[in-house]
Amino acid sequence: MIPARFDQEILPVLAPRVAQLIQAALPHLPAPLEEIRLREDRPLHLVHTSGDAFIGRSDGLTQDPHRAAVASHDDLLRTFQMMAQGSVYAWEDEIRGGFLTLMGGHRVGLAGRAVLDSGRIRTLKQVSSLNIRVAREVPGCANGLLPRLVKGGRVVSTLIISPPQAGKTTLLRDLVRQISAGAPGAGLKGCKVGLVDERSEVAGCSAGVPQRDVGPRTDVLDACPKAEGMMLLIRSLSPAVVAVDEIGRPADAEAVLEALHAGVAVLATAHGYSVEDVARRPALAELIRAGAFGRAVVLGRSRGPGTVEQVADLGGEAGAAAGPAFGPGQGHGLGAGPGQGPGPGPAPVGGGGRVAG
């Protein structure tokens, strides 16, 4: 199960020894690859959609960490330097935020020793853990969902709530692509979309140009802070819809409200397990109270990543019933690979969702 464009986007930034080991192990993976984890002096670790495994010293995978190949200091150093294109100093802000983004939108999480400057992280040095999260493009994964986010030919402002690794970025990317291109099936004409891609994950920009398909009417503001980016888009690019990944800070909430007052629909994602969960976070609670979002989509992994657990109506109307996972007849979500079988039908969790309180 080798991810698409793995050879061009991920292999070249791995230390040659690690690249060889991973390349040899990938064909043995039972499910699509989600993460490659390198930890100094510890086993090479792969996470896939149905579990995890270590890379064996000889060929193949193992569950026994003592029989696994170990990543050395040099492996980590080389990989980190190559991920930063040999120029760690050029990515200081990202490294301070604990991540780097590779060509193609794959995000790399970093851990190591933090260097502090009056109590705040100035940079990370001696990076000892790297977590490469393989970005996946699943065109059409929003097919089943999109009609429920459209009302009277217009996109309803929607908050996508999801725990990490449940496919919110993948879903957001496909929603942006379809809204931008137009979806006759959902009664939606293509409209201008402004995407603020702070971590370069959604559009996977290289030198500002999207490497992922985000639609023909989409403008991407790459590596831009969310709140500032939303304001900039509204002021100068006249979008009908603004899309933004992982909101949560008060400044983000303010920008979302600003967008709504300007008559722009907002598609946003937030970490969480349920609407109630998100409503406990002050900035998001305020948004929900103010009626900023018409719909909330809750994602989970109950039937693989990308399972739509609930579609809740936040606009004071009757709650929509939970529907099928991404796209009728599409199987169940992003993790559905050959052999996993199709599974259209109602999602098991949720029902008419309404925010409590």
């Binding site: 230390a15 040659p16 690249a19 080389r78 190559m82 040999g86 120029s87 100093y89 050029a90 100035r122």
Partner: protein, 174 residues
């Protein structure tokens, strides 16, 4: 007799050439050390103000400096460019030094400064990089002063020694 005269001329010519060559080394080394400092100054500016990625920053350093030193930086940039797998900036610079530095008048101790820099090149934050680059430039300034002094002392001497040792050899052989 004619044979002897031709032999004497060949000996004199060869020894003078050797003297001139050694003197040339003394004369060119300070200039090449200055070129090296110029290249590092450009690199520092690119890193400090532009946060420019190294392949591009190394190319601008190569473009701004003299032809004897430029291939070291250009070579490192080319090694770091597209298609390079598993090569860190340090590896690239060390390889480029090994291959390109022979054409210059730089001495091993001059190149050691660059090799020391290679260990940290690109591997840390901006402030740290600037500090390492400034340190390397400082060491090169010291070496340049030393090279100037050696030039004043040995450049002419090497020429004289070349010509005179040739003449002495001719006298002995006659």
């Amino acid at each position: 007799m004619l044979g002897k005269a031709i032999g004497a001329l060949i000996i004199l010519g060869a020894s003078s050439y050797a003297g001139w060559h050694v003197a040339g080394g003394y004369a060119r080394r300070p200039a090449h050390l200055r070129d090296l400092q110029t290249a590092l100054a450009v690199l520092q500016t690119e890193v400090e103000y532009g946060a420019t990625p190294l392949p591009i920053a190394l190319r601008s350093a190569a473009g701004a400096t003299g032809p004897a030193v430029a291939p070291i930086f250009g070579g490192a940039a080319a090694r770091l460019g597209a298609g390079s797998r598993g090569i860190t900036p340090g590896d690239a610079l060390r390889e480029a030094i090994a291959e390109e530095a022979a054409a210059s008048a730089l001495r091993p101790e001059d190149l050691d400064v660059l090799r020391a820099l290679a260990g940290t090149l690109g591997a840390s934050g901006r402030e740290d990089q600037v500090r390492h680059l400034a340190l390397a430039r400082e060491r090169l300034t010291g070496l340049e002063a030393q090279a100037q002094e050696q030039r004043a002392r040995y450049e002419k001497l090497a020429r004289y020694v070349g010509v005179l040792s040739g003449a002495a050899l001719v006298l002995i052989l006659i």
